[in-house]
């Protein structure tokens, strides 16, 4: 019997993209994934061509789900067209400042929607009651504990923003990321196995937040077994209620959390359960 298919409309042609891990674990759950790299298709061909391609794939495969990852720049009507035929999901990983009218229209037309920030979920629910709060998962084949000699005391992994630059000025935190001024002696960004190595060679990982949303690097770092010092964030203390709070910071340690709950496999299982239950 042939496998059921999931059409993933996202960015599956860049190794650092979350959609690659999602596709990998949809396949582990037994589905055949049809990736449509919408940015590349639109850029190489055209927006109408992308729409024709998606309609052709949906009509010929009758997928179990069409999973749209953010998908800014496409017409919301194509999501509606898909939703009229098969279940669709609008997956969103940004904070409130990126919730545009276009995204709200996407959410309205999707059968289901989810966001990684609870505040965004509240906004989405105004137009789609089938919206769920689901944080990003981690890939246990990449993020796992590895006993390595500690090299760094505290690391911060992420790109520079004015807030982060101000916060880390003069600190002895080791930085990995892009856009940092010279005086920070930042190392290049790290992804995948390189990310794990850096985290496993660190005593602490520092997490700095911009509003009520936290980076997937928190879950990834915890899965690597390294303790996290994080700025306080409501979502983080809700997801990990055992986090120890001090001053305006949270301390998260692996022994206090059931991190396995957040593998991509479990996260996507939850997505499929929601679809099954309508």
């Amino acid at each position: 019997m042939s496998k059921e298919t999931i059409v993933l409309v996202g960015v599956c042609d860049k190794p650092e993209s979350t959609n690659v891990a999602q596709a990998k674990y949809f396949e582990r759950l037994g589905y055949e994934v049809i990736p449509i790299n919408y940015r590349t298709v639109i850029s190489n061909y055209s927006l109408p061509f992308f729409e024709n391609l998606l309609m052709h794939v949906v009509e010929t495969n009758k997928p179990k789900l069409v999973f749209f990852s953010k998908c800014n720049g496409i017409h919301s009507e194509i999501i509606k067209w898909c939703s009229d035929r098969v279940p669709t999901w609008l997956w969103f990983m940004d904070y409130t400042h990126n919730v545009t009218n276009e995204i709200m229209k996407h959410v309205e037309y999707a059968t289901f929607a989810s966001a990684t920030s609870s505040e965004v979920v509240d906004i989405f629910k105004q137009v789609n009651s089938n919206t769920h709060w689901i944080i990003e998962g981690y890939d246990p084949e990449i993020c796992f504990y590895e006993e390595l000699t500690p090299i760094y005391n505290t690391v911060f992994i992420g790109n520079a923003t004015p807030k982060r630059i101000e916060q880390l000025k003069g600190s002895d935190v080791t930085i990995f990321g892009s856009g940092w001024p010279k005086e920070f002696n930042a190392n290049p960004p790290v992804y995948g196995h390189e990310f794990r190595k850096v985290v496993c060679q660190s005593k602490f990982v520092l997490n700095l937040v911009h509003g009520n949303i936290f980076s997937n690097r928190v879950v990834d770092s915890l899965a690597c077994g390294t303790d996290i010092h994080s700025e306080w964030c409501k979502d983080l203390s809700t997801v990990f209620p055992t986090a120890y709070m001090y001053k305006r910071f949270l301390l998260l340690t692996l022994k206090d959390v059931k991190i396995e709950r957040y593998t991509w496999e479990n996260t996507l299982k939850k997505v499929m359960e929601i679809i099954e239950n309508g």
Binding site: C12, D13, P15, V20, A23, K24, E27, V33, I34, P35, I36, N37, R39, T40, V41, I42, S43, N44, Y45, S46, P48, F49, N52, L53, H56, V57, N72, G73, G192
Partner: protein, 321 residues
């Protein structure tokens, strides 16, 4: 600081002429030498460093032109760097090129080098030599609106071939309503330096080291470029960007020097002052529609299947890593 010096087998040259002649002739000939005759030699070019991106696939070292040469503020004519005001076909004054060669020899061992200097003036000899053309591509990106890259040529040399500045300005004023307009070119070779609008990405006065990379990046994401037989036309053609060209040499730009057979639309003018914005808008609308129709008419379900198969293969390769 340790001085750069290459004490090994090298092939050396310099280039000080027009960008169009470099792109459509000299660099392609030089690449062919690397691939076909001297694969184990290191290739060195003395030229404007901003052009390195065009030869980075085979030139290991690009040496910037000396300040003393830049201070001469020479004009370019075909392969030649000439004094401003020199009639077409003129040559550089005596001594300028020999000084350049002496300067270049500071960076390699002449006894181990094959020194190959470019032709002089308007010379067609390389047209009959083997040439290999690279395709220049930037990363694909998504913008809120379709992108159009414009090269508004305004050169002192051959100024009769300038489309009037007011036409370029009116064209940009019109296009910004529907497109993200990118203005590209050099401060000496383009107008609209000060065109300032949040809907326009004006790179003309930008002088960062990545300027050419940025132009190629935008061309790779543009629905078309608009130019009038300038260096920008050649960058566009070699970047695979559909090119709308205003000019007087149709076959040269749409056939002979269209090395990658990119879609082109050519508006012939006998006098560059006679083009107007309604004509350009009508032309580019027709050009866009023709390209769209061609894509749709020539697309089959096999093409869809092939795109999906490629995406699946790419994904599997990444997941395995």
């Amino acid at each position: 600081m340790k001085k750069f010096y290459l004490d090994e087998q090298t092939v050396v040259s310099f280039f000080v002429g027009e960008i169009g002649w470099f792109l459509q002739r000299y660099q392609a000939f030089f690449r062919s030498l690397k691939v076909n005759q001297y694969p184990n030699h290191k290739f060195i070019l003395l030229m404007n460093k901003a052009y390195h991106i065009f030869v980075k696939d085979f030139v290991s070292h690009t040496i910037d032109l000396p300040q003393s040469f830049k201070d001469l503020k020479l004009d370019q004519d075909c392969y030649e760097a000439v004094l401003p005001g020199t009639p077409a076909g003129g040559l550089a004054p005596a001594g300028i090129y020999s000084n350049l060669i002496e300067y270049a020899r500071n960076f390699y061992n002449p006894e181990k080098a094959i020194e190959m200097w470019p032709p002089r003036g308007c010379n067609r000899s390389i047209d009959h030599q083997p040439q290999l053309f690279a395709r220049y591509e930037g990363d694909k990106q998504i913008f809120d609106k379709p992108v159009i890259t414009i090269f508004p040529r305004t050169r002192v040399r051959a100024s009769q071939r300038n489309v009037p500045e007011f036409v370029w300005k009116e064209l940009v004023d019109t296009l910004v309503n529907s497109f993200l307009v990118v203005l590209a070119g050099t401060p000496e070779g383009a107008c609209l330096h000060d065109y300032d609008d949040p809907r326009v990405q004006n790179l003309i006065m930008y002088d960062g080291a990545d300027k050419t990379d940025q132009i190629i990046g935008y061309l790779s994401n543009s629905v078309m470029s608009i130019s009038s037989q300038s260096g920008g036309t050649h960058i566009s053609l070699l970047s695979g960007c559909p090119s709308y060209i205003i000019g007087h040499e149709k076959d040269r730009h749409t056939l002979y020097e269209n090395r990658h057979k990119v879609p082109t639309s050519f508006r012939y003018v006998s006098d560059y002052r006679l083009i107007d914005v309604p004509t350009i808008i009508q032309d580019i609308s027709g050009f866009l529609k023709a390209m769209e129709d061609y894509k749709q008419q020539n697309m089959t379900t096999d093409d869809y299947a092939s795109i999906i198969d490629d995406s699946k293969q790419q994904l599997n390769d990444m997941v395995k890593k």
